[in-house]
Symmetry: C2
Subunit: 93 residues, 2 copies
DNA sequence: GAATCACATCAGCCTCAACTGATATCATTC
DNA sequence: GAATGATATCAGTTGAGGCTGATGTGATTC
């Protein structure tokens, strides 16, 4: 999940989709990447459940799944909280 | 930053450090990875400000920086929130 | 139904980053 | 100060994954 957000192009796609639903052609235009490349990344995001698709004629709209993103955010928040509460403990050697 | 958390071994290190401060030998023992490998990853985490070091004799303790982690979490939360508030908008083709 | 457009899939290339072995450094112990 | 133990650095190798070109599929238009 976080692995997916690590790639710069995928991160850009996610950022764009956070603002509005877009179809592949929009993403190609916005990022300047090849259609094949975008499509491959979208498949990964789709398979991970991070985006959903809405077929619309010959277009395919992609929409960001806020829940999946929030789950990742919550995991990091929990880790940070855990670190704060154990900020003094230290395992002896 | 999120790129750093994407690697499985680095993610494991961060998780371990969230519980308590550990020195390199602990991390080597816990993960089963080679010392060289752990040390390389720790350098990246250090350079990114995700962990801080506390030299203690010939040991080096590593401690997780909650602020850096929280910043990443907040970024994802903001994206999720943005997606939720634009859940109906859709750019026409 | 032929042509065209939006998009998906596949196979191959190629780069980058993770892993390793050898070695250096610094502190501790004898 | 010689030996040892903990850690850092460096150069080389290798494998996973991102990118591309070619091609397939399904919907739309004429």
């Amino acid at each position: 999940m976080i692995r997916l957000l690590a790639d710069p192009l995928r991160a850009r796609i996610v950022e764009l989709l956070a603002g509005e639903a877009l179809c592949t052609c929009h993403l190609v235009a916005e990022t300047g990447a090849k259609q094949t490349n975008i499509s491959n990344h979208l498949r990964q995001l789709r398979q991970a459940g991070l985006v959903t698709t809405e077929p619309c004629g010959r277009f395919t709209y992609y929409r960001l799944n806020p829940g999946a993103l929030q789950a990742a955010a919550d995991h990091l928040t929990a880790l940070a909280e855990r670190a704060r509460s154990h900020s003094q403990s230290r395992r002896p050697c």
